[in-house]
């Protein structure tokens, strides 16, 4: 049987490359009724901030063609409550945990990273510098290579945990941001976060979402995500985690073929809560049938 293990960072070996995308997996426990979440490569938590955050008012989600817009606004229970009430549950479930973090400013990011530094049971941090739905929470860092690099350098200093920086697709040249944060000490990159979009409520003459704009996710964005992963893999030498519209093992394999070291499943979790484990198994079957011994032989096998 094919060996699905992937090494994201020296020392951070995941049992397989299938992770849950932040904000689409709650804090993990809800999925435990559907499958053994310990079987995922890792569970990435909803984005966490130093203090609890209540998120955006009004309508927060709306469906678009093969996609959805969300403007949750990074609602979360705050890092303290997470550590007290959620992390232990995840650990009991046997999950490998990656914590997604964000802050209002550089100090916040550094503070939360420092706080998590020595916490037992956290495998890595994913730094969200790309949420389009709140002024804080990243987008202003994520679209400018220099600010992004400064932020990552600050977080780098605050923790010894492996750092995955999550990039925004709402940029002219994602490779510039990618290189900048790689140089600033990020151990890996994950991309893409959502594309900024708008939906209109024609009858009521107003934006559907309370926040006006929202983040576009789902199958609709897969071609853009694949393209960006393809570009970034060529631009940096650190591992890249692919995200965007993945809804089947084939989708996941496409990202891996392009060179992603792992992938995250987002919106598809909402439609089928078991999709995570189905994709793990689908990847295994696909590679077994084709007699791969290790998944790392498949990763990046795109011919050009």
């Amino acid at each position: 049987m094919v060996d699905l293990r992937v090494e994201i960072v020296p020392g951070l070996v995941l049992k397989n490359p299938v992770l849950s995308a932040s904000g689409t997996f709650g804090y993990g426990r809800e999925y435990a009724s559907y499958f053994d979440v310990a079987k995922l490569g890792a569970v990435i938590t909803k984005g966490l901030s130093l203090k609890p955050k209540i998120g955006n008012p009004g309508v927060r989600i709306t469906e678009t063609a093969c996609g959805m817009l969300n403007a949750i606004g990074l609602e979360n229970i705050g890092i303290d409550s997470f550590l007290a009430n959620e992390l232990p549950v995840l650990q009991n479930l046997g999950a490998d945990v990656i914590v997604n973090i964000f802050g209002n400013n550089q100090n916040d990011y550094a503070a939360i990273a420092a706080k998590l530094d020595q916490v037992e049971g956290i495998r890595a941090l994913e730094i969200n510098i790309s949420c389009p739905n709140v002024k804080a929470g990243g987008i202003q860092f994520g679209t400018d290579p220099e600010s992004a690099a400064r932020l990552v350098a600050a977080v780098r200093k605050a923790t010894t945990l492996p750092l995955i920086t999550k990039l925004s697709p709402n940029v002219t040249d994602i490779t510039a941001v990618a290189r900048a944060v790689a140089d600033a000490g990020s151990d890996a990159l994950s991309l893409i976060n959502t594309l900024l979009g708008l939906a209109i409520d024609l009858e009521n003459k107003r934006p559907v979402l309370g926040n006006v704009t929202g983040g576009l996710s789902g199958p609709a964005i897969k071609p853009v995500a694949l393209r960006m992963v393809y570009q970034v893999v060529q631009a940096v030498s650190i591992p890249v985690i692919g995200i965007g519209g993945i809804a089947s093992a084939e989708d996941a394999l496409e990202f891996l073929m392009v060179g992603a070291a792992a992938i995250e499943i987002g919106t598809a979790n909402f439609i089928n809560p078991q999709i995570g484990i189905e994709i793990v198994e689908g990847i295994r079957d696909y590679l077994d049938q084709r007699k791969y011994l290790k998944i790392t032989d498949f990763i990046g096998c795109l011919q050009s």
Binding site: T24, I54, G55, R60, I61, T62, F270, P273
Partner: protein, 274 residues
């Protein structure tokens, strides 16, 4: 919670745009479903338009089937509503917390009077109380369904409810006076609460109606539950898309946000902050 595929066993047209579907389902799912709970449904496996499953109240259930009423308002409900017998749907449920269980022992004298209030498609949720739990526990007079709709044609499932709960009193009211009085269902509620101030109220309907119900209940300090229908992406508590401001879930009176899908859709009426 179960993920399953079921078959359309029956698709009955109630009005030009409302369908009553019976769908096959695993016995465990059926057994565990309670009035006021809902199910997420889709019928286009492998295709992404529509993308998300859609929430519908579980109207009724038997040993190996359940029923929903679907009003065709957009592409998802249209696709589901137009399914033919034999077609396959994916279901995820039962989800959410339904109406609280109420004393249904007819031998007890202190049977709490119950007022069910439905507006429009809210009947899908409210009727579930009559179709699969209160069946035999209606004491004449003490239990009533107040049902408002746009017009006579939009008053759904009356025969089914009467058959299932013969002793229920049903009062209708319509926007155009084509059945019952012309007016709002909350007018009926006020009258009813004058007679039964100690009654428990279950209400489901459009938000303006629920706001009204809440005000009426507050005015007479009556107890009640409201079933909400916020937009949902996941239905099981992981997207935070469906939140509603509520007070005092932790009983300290401060406003916090609750997930309608897992903490609701049925909430104590006095806790909902519209």
């Amino acid at each position: 919670m179960y993920l399953f595929t079921g078959k359309i066993l029956r698709n009955r047209q109630l009005t030009s745009d409302i369908r009553h579907l019976r769908i096959s389902a695993p016995a465990d799912f059926c057994q565990q479903s309670a009035p006021g709970q809902f199910i997420m449904l889709s019928c286009n496996d492998g295709l992404f338009d529509p993308l998300l499953k859609r929430p519908f109240g579980i109207l009724n259930r038997g040993e190996n089937w359940f029923e929903v009423v679907i009003k065709e308002v957009g592409k998802g409900s249209l696709q589901l509503g137009e399914m033919k017998e034999g077609a396959i749907v994916s279901g995820h449920g039962p989800l959410g917390n339904g109406y609280p269980e109420i004393n249904s022992d007819l031998n007890k004298d202190d049977l709490t009077p119950l007022i069910l209030v439905a507006g429009g498609m809210g009947i899908a949720s409210i009727a579930s109380c009559l179709l699969f739990s209160l069946k035999s526990s209606i004491k004449a007079g003490s239990r009533v369904l107040l049902y408002g709709a746009a017009n006579l044609d939009e008053l759904l499932l009356l025969d089914e409810m009467k058959e299932s709960a013969p002793d229920i009193r049903i009062e209708t009211i319509t926007d155009d006076g084509s059945s019952g009085r012309q007016g709002w269902v909350t007018e009926l509620l006020e009258t009813e609460l004058q007679q039964y101030p100690e009654a428990l109220v279950f209400a489901c309907g459009p938000e303006p109606m629920l706001i009204n119900v809440q005000q009426v209940l507050r005015k007479v300090s009556a107890r009640g539950y409201l079933s909400l229908e916020n937009r949902m992406a996941c239905g099981f508590g992981v997207c935070l898309g469906c939140v509603q401001d509520v007070t005092g879930i932790d009983d300290d009176g401060t406003v916090e946000s609750a997930k309608v899908c897992t903490q609701g859709p049925v909430f104590p009426a006095d806790k909902v902050v519209f």
